[in-house]
């Protein structure tokens, strides 16, 4: 009687895609090891029953070497062996390496079914596996699947009942590898293929000269595509909608309202030259939806489109190799580039994914760097939207300042913190080109996740700010902080409101800066400070959960120090 199904396998074999197929629960999958850092649950209908399915983080063996692997191994041992079925997901293109875990599972007496995933890719690469023979040797059911298209999943479900404990001698790893060598000789047949374009590109991207050239090309093109798609959506879809449809509608509705009434203040906000200005009016029906849908959403879509594409193709681990050198000096190793890139979308998933890093020291450095020096999409969209009006030079300047902060901060933290930066060890996946439907689904879920999180907070945020502004309650705060804000940073007193609101959400904060009529220099300083000062509340909570109170306090102290130093330097030295 099966009460629970576990999906286990090496990193990056497609467990999450199999999981989505079995349970209809969508989980983010990518083409690099370590996408799943926590176990995820769903349910599979088998006859009349509903059985819990657990997707475990990838592991190479049953002796864990990272916190994500520990999760996988400890969960597997939670239930008695006759109540569970273990689906061992295997990358068919690399059977040999995958079989170590399979043998261990069988030896430990787990009722196992082997799922030879990515069978279509294996055929493309000239790898042929005799599944019947493998079944005879291992005494467990073996099913070929291609989870991205759904081939073989029905058979996998059907044969799950056949799983049972098999007795097999426990071997030391050396012996196991010898045995695997013998098994491979019997079941795998390799067709000789000439190097094709895909393999040539795979190799070229990890060699020094061609690798850096390709990286420069990929990064440049990614930026261009993100901007192109973002601007396209704004210019062709959202702006015409807001200015052509929403604005006349709102103006008609509010024609007879009194401009100074409380309700008008809340819903529409202040008129600029007698007209609604979506960027400056600051009303619940004007600026709030415009910030989220007209400025941020287009870039959320374009950013996640490009990121998801790079993830699924499998380019990111190659970038990690090339950047290992630099990141090593910051107390990290190359793989930290993945949390950092995710952080550019939203700091929260970025900090969560630092779990793939081995030590607490690395996780602290990476999380602090992300929350200080990596601006999320909403903040970036606002920086481009507001500061871009003064010229691309200023926008580039903000990124340059943030990059320098990351470098200096990393170098210092690496010097000051006890411990050392661990060595890089990563398997590099082949390039894969998953069907566009998979990409579209992933994009849909990421955009939906963004909307669910952002929209309520932005609406409530603008509402609360409006009430506080109306009651003039911010005046106390502006009075207290005026010396720092005005004398050190050269900003008008009211800018403190924006910095404080930045704790709620960064995009709302930039929205408050818009009506202040700041000069290019002031706006430059203000958005840089917004990026480096306190992260938003969601990031703050994740930092707390992931690092603990002690490290959170350290991290916060660093943020405040850097904000003061950078704000002052920018004001008096760099932009003088």
């Amino acid at each position: 009687m099966i009460r629970k199904i576990y999906l286990i396998g090496n990193p990056n074999v497609g467990k999450s895609v199999v999981f989505s197929r079995l349970t209809d629960v969508h989980v983010i999958s990518s083409n690099y090891p370590g996408t799943t850092i926590e176990f995820i649950k769903g349910y599979l209908s088998l006859g009349d029953e509903k059985i819990e399915v657990v997707d475990l983080p990838g592991t190479y063996s049953l002796e864990p070497s990272s916190s994500a692997e520990e999760v996988a191994v400890s969960l597997l041992k939670e239930h008695s062996k006759d109540e569970i079925a273990v689906v061992n997901v295997i990358d068919s293109t690399n059977l040999e390496r995958n079989l170590l875990l399979t043998l261990q599972l069988v030896e430990e007496g787990f009722p196992t079914i082997a799922c030879l995933n990515m069978c279509d890719d294996a055929v493309h690469r000239g790898v042929h596996i005799d599944t019947k023979k493998l079944e005879e040797i291992l005494h467990i059911p073996v099913v070929s699947t291609c989870a991205v298209t759904g081939v073989g999943i029905k058979l996998l479900i059907k044969r799950m009942k056949e799983t049972a404990s098999v007795s097999r001698d426990k071997l030391p790893h050396e012996e196991r590898w010898k045995e695997i060598g013998l098994i491979i000789e019997q079941v795998q047949h390799l067709e000789h293929r000439h190097h094709r374009l895909r393999e040539m590109l795979e190799d070229a991207s990890v060699r020094p000269l061609t690798g850096f050239l390709m990286a420069a090309g990929v990064i440049y093109t990614s930026f261009k595509i993100v901007r192109f798609i973002g601007e396209f959506i704004i210019n062709k879809i959202t702006d015409p909608f807001f200015y052509g449809t929403i604005q006349p509608l709102l103006e008609k509705l509010t024609l007879h309202w009194q401009e100074k009434s409380f309700l008008f203040h809340l819903l529409i906000g202040d008129l600029v030259n007698g007209k609604i200005d979506f960027k400056q009016s600051l009303g619940i029906l004007t600026t709030a939806p415009y910030i989220e849908f007209g400025m941020v959403l287009p870039y959320v879509i374009s950013f996640y489109f490009v990121l998801s594409l790079l993830e699924d193709i499998g380019y990111l681990p190659r970038l990690a190799i090339l950047l290992d050198n630099l990141l090593h000096r910051l107390g990290l190793h190359g793989y930290a580039i993945i949390p950092v890139l995710l952080g550019f979308g939203c700091n929260v998933p970025g900090i969560l994914s630092t779990r793939v890093l081995e030590s607490k020291r690395e996780r602290f450095i990476a999380s602090t760097i992300i929350s200080i020096g990596v601006p999320c999409v909403p903040l970036q969209a606002m920086i481009i939207g507001l500061l871009g009006a003064f010229g691309g030079f200023y926008v580039g300047g903000v990124y340059l300042v943030l990059f320098c902060i990351i470098l200096v901060l990393g170098l210092i933290l690496n010097r000051v913190l006890p411990g050392y930066s661990p060595e890089f060890l990563l398997e590099i996946p082949p390039y894969r080109f998953p069907p566009l439907t998979i990409l579209a689904r992933k994009l849909y879920f990421r955009v939906k996740g963004f909307l669910i999180e952002a929209v309520p907070i932005v609406l409530i945020g603008v509402l609360v700010i409006n009430i506080l502004l109306y009651l003039k309650l911010f005046d106390i705060m502006t009075g207290v902080f005026a010396p720092v804000i005005h004398d050190l940073f050269g900003l008008p007193k009211d800018a403190i409101v924006a910095l404080a609101i930045g704790f709620l959400r960064k995009d709302v904060a930039v929205g408050i800066l818009a009506p202040l009529g700041l000069s290019a220099k002031q706006l430059f300083i203000a958005v840089t400070l917004l990026a480096v000062s306190f992260p938003c509340i969601a990031t703050f909570i994740v930092l707390w959960k992931e690092l603990g109170v002690k490290y959170l306090i350290k991290s916060t102290f660093i943020m405040i120090m850097i904000s003061i130093i950078v704000g002052t330097l920018l004001n008096f030295v760099i932009l003088r």
Binding site: S61, W177, V206, R207, E423, L425, L426, E427
Partner: protein, 77 residues
């Protein structure tokens, strides 16, 4: 036959692992990824300036940090 570390093995050359000069933790980690004494590997590249070394083992491609690669000694022609 001569013995060199993975860092010094020339790109596109083959070698057979003869020693992993690291602790049990490292040995186990590499072992579970398929890199152990006696295994044949091909070096793909070295990024330079103490960057990582990239090797091919069977059908996998593995990137190792400079320090780790220096601890892995291979026999080569």
């Amino acid at each position: 036959m001569k013995k060199v570390s993975l860092v010094h093995l020339k790109p596109n050359h083959k070698g057979k692992v003869s020693e992993i000069a690291g602790g049990a933790g490292l040995q186990n980690r590499l072992m579970s990824m398929g890199l152990y004494v006696g295994k044949e590997i091909t070096k793909l590249s070295y990024i330079g300036l103490r960057g990582p070394v990239v090797i091919r083992i069977g059908r996998s491609v593995l990137a190792l940090g400079h320090g780790m690669a220096a601890k892995i000694i291979v026999e080569t022609e």
